[in-house]
């Protein structure tokens, strides 16, 4: 295990220390170092946007705290849900009096901790509504969407919901936008290698050299098939077919496409994949109006990629184009 770390049990603490030094616009909340908020949060009268999740997915989740994006995040151990207390403290940190939208991914631990945080928020008189992302088509069959995991599609949900909140949307409107975004987003991943949690010291799972796992989860959850590795163009076809058929997407749709590396796949390869994806979508009459390619939501040093596609309507498209600034995602006012 060749890693740039100090104490393997303290990687999250050490990461936060460096992050806060590098980003004066971010701060830890007083009393809870596992909650990172934007310097300007909470904003009076604005719906607060909160998320949270395990560490090891950087820039998710904390890299999406920013202007016109997420107000506060709860930070967990590697691949492990933040505590209920941290979710609650993030909710408090984001509450500007207009309520808080807690937008997170569908995992057992996160569900339990958010549930307990909601009880604490209720006692504290803070109005919170939630949306649970379930965009990963490979994690449960169609018809069983409630069991699907949330993956990189969460970023699109934060983006649109935060844009709505920034423009004065009510809590109900923000939640509606988040709900619609995730309902119209489908994702799938392909894993090419495993990853190692530093404190564990050995690989989390195993993928044979020369093999790929289609449908792999963000923590190495097994996918739907293991096969010999294919050219990127074939990977793109596999991924696009799984996604397009599921929603379904159709001719004339306008979409946002997000390709994320899982940590150890070079950007070069992500663009190779995007080229094929864009071509396949164009052939199907689906127009990509918001393309995003990069390491948006990773899994430590796993090799592999995820593809997320969001079917836009006018409101969601303008929300995707709304300016924002954060470590993980910046959208400028005018195309430069």
């Amino acid at each position: 295990m060749n890693r740039v770390i100090n104490d393997p049990d303290q990687v999250v603490e050490d990461m936060l220390k460096g992050l806060l030094r590098a980003h004066p616009e971010l701060e830890a909340t007083i009393g809870n170092p596992r909650v990172i908020k934007h310097r300007d949060a909470p904003q009076a009268g604005k719906v607060g946007i909160v998320t949270g999740g395990g560490s090891g997915h950087e820039p998710a989740f904390l890299g999406y705290v920013g202007a016109n994006l997420v107000d506060a995040v709860a930070v967990g151990e590697i691949f492990s849900s933040p505590t209920a207390k941290s979710f609650f403290d993030a909710i408090k940190a984001a509450d500007g009096g207009a309520g808080v939208a807690c937008l997170y991914g569908n995992y057992a631990g996160d569900n339990m901790n958010v549930k307990m945080a909601l009880k604490m928020a209720e006692r504290a008189g803070i109005r919170v509504m939630t949306v649970v992302a379930n965009d990963d088509v490979a994690s449960a069959p169609k018809g069983d969407e409630a069991r699907r995991r949330g993956v990189a599609g969460e970023i699109l949900m934060w983006k649109t919901a935060a844009a709505c909140a920034a423009q004065g949307g009510t809590l109900e409107q923000v939640i509606d936008v988040a709900q619609r975004t995730i309902a119209q987003t489908r994702s799938i991943g392909i894993g090419l290698s495993s990853c190692t949690i530093p404190a564990v010291g050995k690989a989390n799972f195993h993928i044979e050299d020369g093999s790929m796992e289609v449908g792999i989860g963000h923590h190495g959850e097994p996918g739907i098939s293991v096969s010999a590795i294919t050219p990127a163009a074939t990977m793109a076809r596999t991924m696009v077919e799984a996604i397009v058929g599921d929603l379904p997407f159709g001719r004339g749709d306008r979409v946002a496409v997000l390709i994320s590396g899982l940590g150890a796949t070079p950007l070069m390869e992500q663009y190779i994949l995007y080229g094929s994806v864009a071509e396949l979508l164009a052939d199907a009459g689906i127009e990509v109006v918001v393309p995003l390619v990069g390491n948006f939501f990773t899994s430590l040093e796993m090799m592999g990629v995820t593809l997320s596609v969001l079917k836009l309507d006018d409101e969601l498209e303008s929300a995707m184009r709304y300016p924002c600034v954060a470590i993980g995602l910046t959208v400028s006012k005018e195309p430069l």
Binding site: T83, A84, M116
Partner: protein, 216 residues
């Protein structure tokens, strides 16, 4: 006939639980590594150790109810994941039931155990057969309460609880996970023990023997 435990001087039961988790840190992670991400022992040990430090920092060791409360709060505030809320709820159920009592007898422990199970069920949705810690916990509660209703004494009922916990824990080997992270593995989760069910058995076994040794 030994029938009761002085609660005010029984806080060390919680230290015994903490020691059990720390002694089994590597074992629990190894079991978790087979079908989970291999950090169960690490996370549990981290949370339980925080509680040990907090308890030992006090001038005198708090009583059992207060020590259970300290453990519950440390787990809820300190470890997150699934185990924070689940075990936090278990020990909160014990703490709240014992609060205000001087002595722990067989009846009161039965109430506490039932409350602990009810509290954890209000957080998670797992049932017996889902391959989770509930496969250990629910049979343990049922065996304890059944022993009481058959007129068994506290010591014997605790023994029944531990035996049922062990059988429940072992039953997880043949089960396919239906909830939590291992559920994603489907049939590949069959053939290995569940990590949560394992830590739950270890904790109940220590709880049983530690309480038995303090009966007066």
């Amino acid at each position: 006939m030994k029938t009761e435990i002085e609660l005010g001087s029984a806080g060390a039961v919680v230290l015994d639980l903490i020691a059990t988790i720390n002694e089994n840190r590597a074992y629990l992670s190894e079991i978790d590594g087979a079908i989970g991400d291999g950090d169960h022992g690490i996370n549990m040990s981290k949370g339980f150790s925080q509680c040990r430090d907090a308890l030992l920092a006090q001038p005198t060791l708090p009583g059992l109810a207060e020590s259970f409360d300290a453990l519950a709060m440390t787990l809820l505030d300190g470890i997150g994941g699934s185990m924070g809320p689940l075990y936090g709820s278990v020990f909160m159920g014990f703490a709240e039931t014992l609060a205000g009592h001087q002595r722990l007898d067989a009846q009161l422990f039965g109430q506490a155990l039932a409350q602990a199970v009810a509290d954890v069920q209000s957080v998670g949705n797992a049932q017996v057969g889902d391959k989770t810690l509930m496969d250990t916990l629910i049979p343990a509660r049922d065996a304890y309460l059944a022993a009481l209703s058959q007129g068994e004494d506290f010591h014997t009922a605790l023994g029944g609880m531990v035996a049922a916990a062990e059988a429940g824990w072992q039953s997880t080997k043949a089960l396919q996970a239906r909830i939590g992270r291992a559920a994603r593995l489907g049939e590949r989760s069959i053939g290995v023990l569940d990590a949560g069910a394992t830590s739950c058995f270890l904790l109940l076994r220590t709880l049983g023997s530690s309480l038995q040794s303090r009966l007066v």
